[in-house]
Symmetry: D2
Subunit: 310 residues, 4 copies
């Protein structure tokens, strides 16, 4: 299984998976199977479960454990599975993390706790978490201030890169400018520090620009994973403009899906319409689509199909 | 047991209890017993467990269940126990709430979810929660924007008072001015709406002023509960100035304990020094006291003892 | 001049203008002229000055007055000029607003003050501002929680629509879902309240979807105003899909320009490259582009030109 | 005048002054005179004007200039006057700062701009401001995250202490725990860096504890400055417990006045009742006291008078 662990050299598309629910709000394991098959058919490199998009905070621990087990069994070593492990308590985080790794997880996705402010506070939090997880558990740092309000400086990232070999991946989704990527890459290119894997989030909203700056792929939940895969493949094959062209076709619906909060409902609904899951319900409190929202999505999906010649 | 349920006419001091841990971080049931005895000896009316002060978010569900069971058995119907039930997922909230009520809880303390902004959003959240809990489960609304960032208007509270008979208590701890209390009381005094119980939080920092404005007591975690009890007793006996005099003696240490975040460590340490618990550790991430912080507390406790003639 | 006042029936594109500076940081009136000519050539309906994009908070009052006078004289009644008037003090807001109207402004753009939370607080603020401005000064409500943190409910907007005839326009740029537009339009369509003008912000990121939901145009600072104009023109001519097609061509660079904070530097730099202003400097504190950022913009602009057949 | 400049060795009480207004909202220069006399009679070391308490953001630049000139002339070199100079634009900040220094100010009080997050961002902001002000203008860093949301680490403060000799004073009012003071003092005591002046804010809520940790006095707006002066005098004379005793007498009203936002109205009203100013009005938007709030203040002031044997 260890060949499946995420590492500094991980490249490709790790799709972030929602947790499918039935109409009456239960975790839907049948839809989990079809969703995993869907992702497989679209060519993703790996799958990330139990993140914000997976509504992890609204599952019971038993549900999370059952879902995790089910996914691990279904995938059965054919693909790396990254598991979201953010938790307000570090004991709980470590316990769940160890359990996920025992089940065969490829690594963990963890976001810093809301409320951390200074560089010192952020570093100290990660120092505790990464130390307690130990050097053998690879971690992806979810750098997403839009929901955590935690803004991580390049300097903190560099300290963590230098001090903790298990910090192997950054999920880059800070929203203003892409220079964080360039600064990280310039340092490792200059031999001044370890080069880690950087995958991009934010639905992939800036994917081509981020690839040009040196990222290794995407870890995000866009409901058309084949675009993410296609763009990365073309880019890594040197077909940069073709990668951009493909991206542009999907951008109108991507930017629609990317609306904060509301986007989760849209994403699940697209997956439902595409046959990946049976029901697009989210758990309370969660966004719901109105009839007008559905009509809007009809129009956007129809335009995408037309562009794709469908 | 139902004579113990909180209601619109609840009056007195509900002390908010921390969760004691052993030096190696386990829930300390022996200290739980001594702590409950301590509270009993100080004359509190009831006890609130598993709130923010109780580090509920850092317990496993199993630990929370064990702690709840242990407290219920130890108290054995002699005092009402209010149980914190805030949760990012409403299904989880309702499930835990029902379990707590089955175990004999007197009611629930619930804070609105971070991220709610407009009156409409806040009302809709409570509408869902209060409806799903049903009319038989009494709820205390923790109105604490300092941690939730949710600011609840008097108008939303009034709508909830009118629409949901199970909204029986407000834990008032919005920090700027006390007119919210007066506005709520003026309405019910004028016969325009139901009068609910209002207990104050914030460590009791404004307790005498809040009593003068018509609150029914306190629900907070000050480590000298005898002060809260004494002030309320004197006030309700008409000895208003004597109530203020008693309050003033404790105010220097109260305002020290009231520091946001850091205060939890101080509070547990005072309880330890007073013999109520064996260890003042908090779980990670949580505040820690330095040697200098301990010295500061020595000085403040010594001054209090001197004033009390000890 | 009053034919130029904004009103409930205003329709079209009001471009939000930056304030051009010289290399040494002075307000650049020569570039102001070329910029106004540029906007005129692109066919905008009106121009909005001294907003956030105009770095109004970093001008001296004298500079703001000189810039305002200069713009009014240059435009000379050929186009309506909306003036940003947000201010921490209401006296200052009203004084500046009156001065702007005397100079011939078409109306004011005002955002609610940061720190307002509840519906009651937000309504009370606007009640004071709209009352003090008086019924003859038309106001555009900048509804932009991404910078103000103030989230305005549909219910507050409806109360303001009913109570203040000078509230004539909403600049819609709340970021999550577009149902606010639909709810406002459904009410006025049902004859339950006044129909006001709604122009969209956010760089136009959702312009086609917002037009389909009933907005009247855009008030935003996208550096290719001809796209905004073209999309609105086509849409209002009934060529909905053609409007979307045109929009999609510009979307990659639009979403790049839309990055919070950083976007101001990109926008000014595009305007410089297009010959509209001489220098793209922003005042401190403000974003700056690195060499790598410039290269990224080269690539995006080249791709746009290629799509446009240039 | 330069003997009056604030410096690393400044000690004592710098009272923060409100800006008095007349009933019709004008700056009240007659009340400014009586207020300055009041502060003088209470024995303050210096006076700080045009801060948040001074409603600086709601004055016109002309009003601020007139008020500054008036204060400087009235005080006429008998006391150091620190001038608030925070500004969203650095050009404006520097221009106003230079003007204030030319008029004889003892130094500037500046808070970091809201929106700064990482250590790097905060340092870079101050680097720009302190460089542009130049080494001859002494600056007090207002470290007040309760309003700015900017949390400054000890590490950033130390870098600024090392790099900028004009950073001579810290106004300490970060609210959670006092270890920042101890860490700064430990470093300079160990000879590892310059010792700067630290004055405390927050109304003086933790003044005795902060003095014990090594601060040099207070810079805050408590409406009974004689307490701040008396506590500091006693403390520096070695009468530590007497200093605490004096503090405790005023603590009930201090903690009342310290309520965020609302406190400004209380403070001005106490000053009015004490004869220091003629009118307690604040400018819109600003807090107002209800009849019930006035009654509450009556009670608190009566209790204070009783304790003082008045």
């Amino acid at each position: 299984m260890s060949q499946h662990r995420i590492s500094e050299s991980t490249r490709g598309v790790y799709i972030i998976s929602p947790t499918p629910f039935t109409e009456d709000g239960k975790v839907d394991l049948a839809s989990t199977d079809t969703l995993l098959d869907f992702y497989d058919a679209k060519g993703v490199t790996g799958i990330t479960i139990l993140g914000v998009l997976g509504e992890a905070g609204k599952l019971t621990p038993e549900e999370a454990a059952i879902f995790l087990d089910h996914v691990m069994k279904r995938v059965d070593g054919t693909k790396p599975i990254v598991v979201g492990a953010s938790n307000p308590g570090t004991d709980n985080l470590v316990r769940f993390a160890n359990r996920a790794m025992e089940k065969g997880a490829a690594g963990l996705m963890i976001a810093p706790l809301p409320g951390l402010k200074t560089d010192e506070q952020i570093y100290a939090y990660w120092q505790a978490v990464l130390t307690r997880l130990g050097p053998d558990i690879p971690v992806c740092y979810q750098d997403y201030p839009q929901t955590t309000q935690v803004v991580t400086s390049v300097s903190v990232l560099n300290r963590l890169i230098d001090d903790f070999p298990n910090f192997v991946m950054l999920k880059h989704e800070e929203g203003s400018g892409l220079s964080k990527i360039s600064r990280l890459r310039e340092r490792s290119d200059a031999g001044k520090g370890r080069r880690i894997s950087i995958l991009v989030g934010n639905g992939g909203l800036y994917l081509p620009q981020e690839l040009r700056r040196g990222v290794d792929g995407a870890m995000t939940g866009f409901a058309y994973p084949e675009m993410l895969v296609g763009v990365c493949d073309k880019f890594f094959a040197g077909e940069v403009e073709a990668a951009e062209d493909l991206f542009d076709i999907y951008l109108p619906i991507l930017r629609h899906e990317q609306q904060l909060g509301f986007g989760l409902a849209v994403r699940k609904e697209i997956l439902r319409r595409r046959g990946a899951i049976a029901c697009s319900a989210t758990r309370h409190p969660g966004p719901k689509m109105t009839a007008r929202d559905h009509q809007e999505l009809d129009e956007l999906m129809a335009r995408l199909d037309a562009k794709l010649g469908k």
